[in-house]
Symmetry: C2
């Protein structure tokens, strides 16, 4: 296990905490995902404020699970604020009503969607067009192996990382092992937004480069739960009424 300079939540504990919030905690997934996605959008606005003029194009890579849902919510807030222009790549859609609803909300905002990996690559190869990439592919419940088209996508981002826009990872840099960190495939994220609390791989992310930026978001757990999961220190880092904090 990695020794972090901050308290972390293992994949197993994170799944347990999420389950607890949605059972005895009486939160709905709609609520939690709304707050998580809003925190992602807020952290992006703070770290990568939009340049003036044309709305900044943001490519949102959406995975099949809850991490993808957080990305969809973040895309909606960014679009609503008016200064970003998100476009989705969401190749493996979940049939669940919540996800269909999140997609419908984005369609109503005229958020576009790329249908093929070739379109994604072409867009990214168009130097300077995309200002930011949101990696909401896999979260803390990810288990290898990575299947297509995600493997090809992450490999492309990895190989081209010095030529393309910065990657902002939601909760986990996709492809990484939640507890152990990097595997043979690295999406090369510039920024990580840990949700609820950092997972062990967040420590490896921070150590992987001086310019790596790490935020915390998803401010919805109470002191008792924080104590139970030994993450009080990290929750205490939030200031005032902020929904996010730069760690």
């Amino acid at each position: 296990m990695i020794k972090a300079g901050f308290k972390t939540l293992s994949a197993k504990s994170a799944a347990q905490l999420d389950g607890e919030l949605m059972s005895t905690g009486a939160f709905s997934i709609d609520q939690l995902m709304e707050l998580a996605g809003l925190a992602v959008a807020k952290a992006i606005y703070k770290q990568y404020p939009p340049s003036t003029g044309t709305p900044n194009k943001v490519l949102v890579l959406v995975g099949p699970g809850n991490n993808g849902g957080d990305g969809l919510v973040a895309a909606r807030h960014l679009k609503t604020w008016g200064s970003y222009d998100p476009v989705l790549y969401y190749p493996k859609k979940t049939s669940n009503q919540l996800y269909s609803n999140l997609v419908k909300q984005l369609q109503d905002l005229q958020v576009g969607e790329l249908q093929t990996l070739e379109e994604v690559k072409a867009l990214l190869n168009n130097k300077g067009e995309v200002k930011l990439i949101i990696d909401s592919l896999f979260g803390f419940s990810f288990k290898p192996p990575i299947r297509e088209p995600f493997k090809d996508l992450i490999s492309f981002l990895s190989v081209n990382h010095d030529k393309i826009a910065p990657v902002v990872a939601v909760d986990i840099p996709s492809g990484w092992d939640v507890d152990q960190g990097p595997t043979d495939i690295d999406i090369n994220a510039s920024m990580l937004i840990s949700l609820t609390a950092p997972k062990p791989c967040a420590a490896r992310f921070v150590e992987s480069g001086k310019d790596k930026v790490h935020y915390l978001g998803g401010r919805f757990i109470n002191k008792e739960i924080a104590k139970k999961y030994d993450i009080e220190d990290i929750i205490d880092k939030y200031k005032n009424d902020d929904l996010i904090v730069k760690l």
Copy 2:
């Protein structure tokens, strides 16, 4: 109809817009209420930042409908931030699961609840103890007459308004007619937080005194809906990634 210095949404239009968001708009009530309640909490933090030391006691008056739900969500955020100490008065509970869940979330945060109007009056008579009162009793679907215990409660607040803490009204000053404004019973709010868009009575609120403060929150409608309901001007007032704006 009142002529406002800003565009407003009549009771009928507000109900129609809400219905549209939750049908063709594909929003869940959980999502919308979470964002509305968060906006209320954010506006309170901005206008009445907590004094240091003991968390500021806030009395949250919760009505039987959605306006009450917004108050419950606001109370949770205020409590989670740590610098406010909300206490509820929620005499007519809705049996609906969403409301039971919102109450459970507050119980898990050790938010207390007053059981009788006598307790409410005693608390408010204890000069200086309560720093702020949130009026989330009635929203845009309110129709007179006001029933007990709300009538007695609002009368008490009205009569004692210069001796007690400021009242922050959520969307509508309770007791007011949504389209026409004041009736014979006035909760004497110091601050109004209009959700989605101001209702016609908001203009009367602003005109009713120089020190009346008016915020807008609930930033979730797209330009097409704003255009359809003729409230583009008001939606354009939001800045950057702010969830609220002082009007």
